[in-house]
Symmetry: C2
Subunit: 230 residues, 2 copies
Amino acid sequence: MNEPFSQAERQALYRVMELRRDIRHFSSEPIPTEILERILEAAHIAPSVGFMQPWNFILISSLQIRQSIKTLFEETNRAELAKITEQERKELYRSLKLEGILEAPLNIAVTCDRERDAPFVLGRGAMPEMDLFSTCLAIENLWLAARAEGIGIGWVSLFDRPSLEKLLELPPNVRLVAYLCAGYPLEFRAKPLLEEVGWKNRLNLANLVYHDKWGEISPLFGNEKNHPSL
Amino acid sequence: MNEPFSQAERQALYRVMELRRDIRHFSSEPIPTEILERILEAAHIAPSVGFMQPWNFILISSLQIRQSIKTLFEETNRAELAKITEQERKELYRSLKLEGILEAPLNIAVTCDRERDAPFVLGRGAMPEMDLFSTCLAIENLWLAARAEGIGIGWVSLFDRPSLEKLLELPPNVRLVAYLCAGYPLEFRAKPLLEEVGWKNRLNLANLVYHDKWGEISPLFGNEKNHPSL
């Protein structure tokens, strides 16, 4: 079980990462229970600070609840649109579908219990946000597992968080980290949608890697030809 | 390239997730450049809010800098130890090795530029912390890719963050998200160390999954026999 990973296994991992997308267009076909279980198990074996496992997963299928959540999204989305001053950019933003709350067969709220194991969590004393960060590691596991199972995930972050937390009846010590739409996608596109529509380009990784301190180009990574901005 | 993943590919992904560990015992053998590049590429293709890609990676090899960082760790670790009141628990904590800052051939500071693309980032308006969360998704990709390459990663969070940020000369708009030790591990253990030594057990996932709102056990996940606490 513990032998080194083969070339084929590494390639499988990298292929899942490369083809993972943020999905907003879903078929209504339900996610089979055994697939849902595997995806949540993948999330649950993520690393967490002090083995805290601070996450919960709320599986939201009620259309009535999702309708209320969609209304919250629309309020925030309108406010966001109003912030964009450039007309062309505003039109592009308006043309983008940013969620699949009602069409997806399932929504998943991922939460973080900030008082699990309180008061002492190994490794968290100086950085209290480590529990939120751990929850994000679980979300990436969930997202990759979903992709490998052919399931699309879309993270919707345009919400007034306190309103959504109230709607989901979260206790005061629990906070929402992610609101995910989940289901079979109409398609997995070759590139991220925001790259495809020209919202923003992929950055050059070589420009993001430094050595020993901020701003020093690394001799350990790539080489000068990878640093076109210099 | 976009065809469904095979059973073997899914198993490869799940095996990487299952065997990923937080590593504190390293060999001094350097990480080959091409492996380091693949690991950082994996991080860089993670999802990010509004395709923000807010991360940077500082590769720290200088022993002098790492010695200063180790001193920061030791200060925080002493303060943490003093918080534990129960004697047996205190002894257990003291027996744990919590970092490999000097032994690992490489340390990687992962940062988040909170003003990249400022002022408008798609999807971040109502939840400003989405950039930090995105950076965590990249860290999990990095961690999984490292495991598949036989490289161990250990996340060290026992730091006074402002002191470490100053030492790494981060600009005011950039914050440290993770400080990672990286290298070939002496071993990948079968279980998480904190589980193995009895610090904390793995929670039962079935108890962490709710339906439609907080506290409602889900009919979509598992069944009653999976809910021993009920």
